[in-house]
C-alpha cells in the first residue's frame, strides 16, 4: 500500500474510452495522492491526453468511474458532470497542450476571467453589480489582489496590462498555470507543461510547481515527456502504453521497471523472448 492509495484526491477506476472501434484507454485504474505531484507518462499515442480529457469532462468515458474527493469531504463523480461543472464544483483545473490563453485580453484580464464564478455570485449574477449593490466592489478588489499574487509568483506583474498574445512561449505556459490556479483548484492537470521550454524556463516551471504543491492545497497531475522534469519533481509516476497501465510507482521504481524500458527503448532482437516472458505477454 503506497501513500497515494491511502487518501487519494482522485481515484480512476476501470476507465475505458473507445472511439468507434479504437480503444484509446482500456480498463485503466490508478490513484492520485493528495498533495502529490503525479506524472502521467508514456510514448506518443499512449492515451495520456485522453485520460486528461476524461478527467476534465471534455470526453465522456465509455466505462469506468472517476471519483474526486475534495478536502472538505465532498465526493464528485466526474464522469457524470458537465465540463464546466468539473472546474466550478469539483475544483479540477487544467491547462492545454497547445496553449489556450485569451490572446486579445490582457494578462490581468485572463486571471480575472478565471475567477468568474465567485465574482458572478458576488455581483448577484450581474444584477447587484450593475446597480452597485452588495459586495461586488470589494470582491472585485480581492480578485485583482489574487491575480496580482499569482502575477508576482510567475514574474509577470510588470506586464499585467499587456495582451497575453504578446508574451513569450515560456511566459504563456506559466500564465496558463497561474490562470488555472486562479480558479482555486484542488487538482491541477497540466498537459505537457514543459514542452518547448528552454532549460532555464524548465527550472522556473519546476519551482512554480513545487511552490504550488507546498503553499496551496493543490495536488498536481502532469503529462510530461521531459524525463528530467518527471524524475526531479514527481512523487508518483504512472506509465501508459497503448491505453494500458504498464507501470505505477515511485520514479525510482518506474525507471528500473523492465516494462517501461521495453516500451520506451525497445529491446535487442535476441532478447525479445526473454523480455516478453518477464513482462508476461509471451
Amino acid at each position: 500500500m503506497s501513500t497515494w492509495d491511502n487518501n487519494p484526491v482522485l481515484k480512476v477506476e476501470h476507465l475505458t474510452m473507445r472511439f468507434g472501434g479504437l480503444t484509446a484507454i482500456n480498463d485503466l485504474s490508478f490513484n492520485i495522492g493528495r498533495g502529490d505531484i503525479t506524472a502521467l507518462i508514456g510514448p506518443n499515442g499512449a492515451g495520456k491526453t485522453t485520460v486528461f480529457n476524461c478527467i476534465t469532462g471534455f470526453y465522456k468515458p465509455t466505462e469506468g468511474r472517476l471519483v474526486m474527493n475534495r478536502s472538505n469531504g465532498e465526493k464528485h463523480l466526474l464522469e457524470r458532470m458537465a465540463d464546466f461543472k468539473i472546474t466550478a464544483d469539483a475544483k479540477v483545473a487544467r491547462t492545454f497542450q497547445n496553449i489556450r490563453l485569451f490572446g486579445g485580453m490582457t494578462i490581468l484580464e485572463n486571471l480575472m476571467v478565471a475567477q468568474h464564478n465567485p465574482l458572478m455570485v458576488a455581483s448577484n449574477w450581474t444584477i447587484g453589480g450593475l446597480l452597485g449593490l452588495g459586495g461586488y466592489k470589494k470582491s472585485n478588489v480581492d480578485a485583482i489582489e489574487t491575480a496580482k499574487y499569482w502575477l508576482e509568483r510567475i514574474d509577470l506583474i510588470d506586464r499585467a496590462d499587456a495582451p497575453a498574445a504578446d508574451l513569450s512561449y515560456g511566459d504563456q505556459r506559466r500564465l496558463e498555470i497561474a490562470r488555472a490556479m486562479c480558479t482555486g483548484p484542488e487538482l491541477l492537470c497540466l498537459d505537457e507543461p514543459a514542452a518547448g521550454l528552454n532549460p532555464k524556463e524548465s527550472l522556473e516551471l519546476n519551482n512554480l510547481l513545487q511552490y504550488i504543491r507546498k503553499e496551496h492545497d493543490t495536488s498536481v497531475v502532469l503529462i510530461e515527456h521531459d524525463m528530467s522534469v518527471v524524475m526531479e519533481i514527481s512523487d508518483h509516476v504512472v506509465v501508459l502504453d497503448y491505453g494500458v497501465k504498464i507501470s505505477d510507482g515511485s520514479p525510482e521504481f518506474v525507471k528500473n521497471d523492465p516494462h517501461v524500458i521495453a516500451a520506451y527503448l525497445g529491446v535487442e532482437d535476441d532478447e525479445v523472448d526473454q523480455v516478453e516472458e518477464e513482462v508476461g505477454i509471451a
Binding site: 464546466f84 485569451f102 485580453m105 490582457t106 480575472m112 476571467v113 465574482l119 450581474t126 453589480g129 488555472a180
Partner: protein, 444 residues
C-alpha cells in the same frame, strides 16, 4: 560586368509612363476609339464612329497619372508614407485618447436640434432632425448588436427579428389593450429578450456559419409570420394608428392640455420631433451605459473570453451556454426597445420594415465601426445612414458608391474603423489599447 547605370528619377518615370501610354493607346484604339452604332435615321444600318479625342484623353490621363505616381510614390527612394490611421481615434470602448471625441459627440448630439432650429427654423430643420433620429436608432441597434457580435463573437444575421418583435409588441399591445408607450417600452424589451432566449436555446450549440444561417432563418420566420397572420398582425397592411408617446402624460397636441399650452409655447409639430430625438438619444445612451458597465463585470469579461476561446472558458468553469444566452437576450432586449421606439415614431409598421437588408445594414455598421468598439459604431452609423440619406440625389449611383466605400474601408482597415480594444481592467493608469490583430473575432 559593368553595373547598369541607373536612370534619374525623371527619366525613369517618363520611360515607364510612356510605356503605359503606348499600352493604353493600343487598347483604347479598339475599345474606345471605334464605336459601332445603329443609325436611327437610315433604317437599321450599322455604322462606324471614330472617337479619336476620347482615345487621346485616355492616353493622356494614363500618362499623367502614372508619371505623377512614379515621381511622388513608386520610383522614389523615400516614398512618403500615408498614415491615415493616425487621423482616427485610437481607443476602443471608452479609451482615454478617444475621450475628447466621445464627449464632443455627446455635446454635439445634445445641441443639435437647437442649433438646427436656430439656423433653419422649425420648417427647414425638420428633415435633418428626422435624419438624426434615424441615425440614433441605428446607433442604438448597432450598440445592441455589438454585445452579441462584437463582445460575445456570435454572428447574428437575424437581429432585425428582435427589432420587429419590439415594434409589434408595442403596436399590438396598444392596439388590443390600449397600453401606453411608457408601459410598453419595458414590455417590448422583455418580450424581445424572451424571444432571444427562445431562439438561443436550440441554436447556441451551433458555431460560426451554422449559427449565422439559423439566425438568418429565424429573422425570416418572424417576418413571414407577421406577413401571413392577417387576423392578428394585419399582414402586409401593417398596423396603423399606433399611439404617440406623451411627455409625462402631456400629449403633443394643439388642445388645451397639450404640451405646448402647458409650457406656454405656440403649438408646433416640431416639438414632438425634438422630443422623439431626445428620447432615442437617452435610450441609446442607456444602451451604451449598460454595455460599458457590463464589460467591466464578470459577465462582460466572460463574453469576451468566449469570443477569444470557448474551450478555455469551459476549462475555467464558465457555463458557456448561459453566457451566450445572456448576450443574446441582452442584445435582443435593446433591439426590442429600439423597435418600440420605431413603432411609436412611425405610427405605422408593416413587415416590410424588417427585411434581411435591415439586419445586414446593422451588421455592416458594427463591422465597419470595428467589432466591439462603441465609438466606431457611432461613426459608422453616421457615415452609413447619414450618407445614405444625404446622397439621395445620386439615385442609382448611391448604392454603387456605397459598395465601393465599404470595399475600400474593409481593404484599408479590415478590422473596422476603430480597431483597438481597451482592457476592461488595468493595474496601471495608462494601460494601452490592444491591437485588433491580437483580438479574435469569435467563431459563433
Amino acid at each position: 560586368m559593368q553595373a547598369r547605370k541607373k536612370d534619374s528619377l525623371l527619366v525613369a518615370s517618363v520611360k515607364d509612363s510612356l510605356g503605359a501610354a503606348v499600352i493604353t493607346f493600343a487598347l483604347a484604339c479598339v475599345m474606345v476609339g471605334l464605336r459601332v452604332d445603329v443609325a436611327s435615321g437610315r433604317g437599321a444600318e450599322l455604322f462606324l464612329e471614330h472617337r479619336w479625342l476620347a482615345v487621346a484623353v485616355a492616353v493622356l490621363v494614363v500618362f499623367a497619372g502614372r508619371l505623377a505616381m512614379n515621381i511622388f510614390f513608386w520610383k522614389r527612394e523615400d516614398p512618403p508614407s500615408l498614415n491615415l490611421s493616425g487621423l482616427l481615434p485610437k481607443g476602443g470602448m471608452g479609451g482615454g485618447s478617444s475621450n475628447v471625441l466621445k464627449y464632443g459627440l455627446v455635446v454635439l448630439a445634445v445641441a443639435l436640434p437647437f442649433a438646427l432650429m436656430f439656423w433653419l427654423g422649425a420648417r427647414g430643420s425638420r428633415q435633418y432632425i428626422d435624419l438624426a433620429i434615424l441615425v440614433m436608432t441605428y446607433v442604438m441597434l448597432g450598440w445592441g448588436l455589438n454585445i452579441v457580435v462584437g463582445l460575445a463573437g456570435l454572428l447574428d444575421l437575424g437581429y432585425v427579428a428582435f427589432y420587429a418583435v419590439g415594434a409589434y409588441s408595442y403596436a399590438l399591445l396598444a392596439h388590443y389593450f390600449g397600453f401606453s408607450f411608457w408601459l410598453c417600452l419595458p414590455l417590448a424589451g422583455i418580450l424581445a429578450a424572451f424571444w432571444g432566449v427562445i431562439l438561443g436555446f436550440p441554436v447556441l450549440r451551433l458555431r460560426g456559419d451554422y449559427l449565422a444561417i439559423v439566425t438568418l432563418a429565424f429573422g425570416e420566420i418572424i417576418r413571414v409570420v407577421l406577413l401571413n397572420w392577417y387576423q392578428f398582425t394585419g399582414g402586409p397592411d401593417g398596423l396603423s394608428g399606433i399611439p404617440r408617446p406623451s411627455f409625462f402624460g402631456l400629449e403633443f397636441t394643439r388642445g388645451e392640455d397639450g404640451f405646448a399650452s402647458f409650457f406656454g409655447l405656440d403649438y408646433s409639430s416640431i416639438h414632438r420631433i425634438i422630443f422623439l430625438y431626445y428620447l432615442i438619444f437617452a435610450m441609446a445612451l442607456f444602451t451604451n451605459f449598460v454595455t460599458m458597465r457590463l464589460r467591466r463585470m464578470p459577465i462582460g469579461r466572460a463574453w469576451e473570453a468566449l469570443r477569444e476561446d470557448e474551450i478555455a472558458c469551459r476549462a475555467l468553469g464558465i457555463n458557456t451556454t448561459n453566457t451566450k444566452l445572456t448576450a443574446f437576450a441582452l442584445g435582443a432586449m435593446f433591439a426590442g426597445f429600439a423597435g418600440s421606439f420605431f413603432a411609436t415614431r412611425q405610427g405605422f409598421i408593416s413587415p416590410e420594415s424588417f427585411t434581411f437588408l435591415e439586419s445586414a445594414i446593422i451588421l455592416a455598421i458594427v463591422v465597419l465601426g470595428g467589432l466591439g468598439s462603441q465609438i466606431g459604431v457611432v461613426i459608422a452609423a453616421i457615415v452609413m445612414i447619414g450618407g445614405f440619406e444625404f446622397f439621395r440625389e445620386f439615385e442609382e449611383y448611391r448604392m454603387l458608391v456605397f459598395g465601393m466605400i465599404m470595399v475600400v474601408i474593409m481593404v484599408w482597415k479590415p478590422r473596422g474603423l476603430i480597431s483597438s480594444r481597451t482592457p476592461s481592467v488595468a493595474l496601471s493608469r495608462n494601460a494601452k489599447g490592444i491591437s485588433a490583430d491580437l483580438v479574435q473575432e469569435g467563431h459563433g
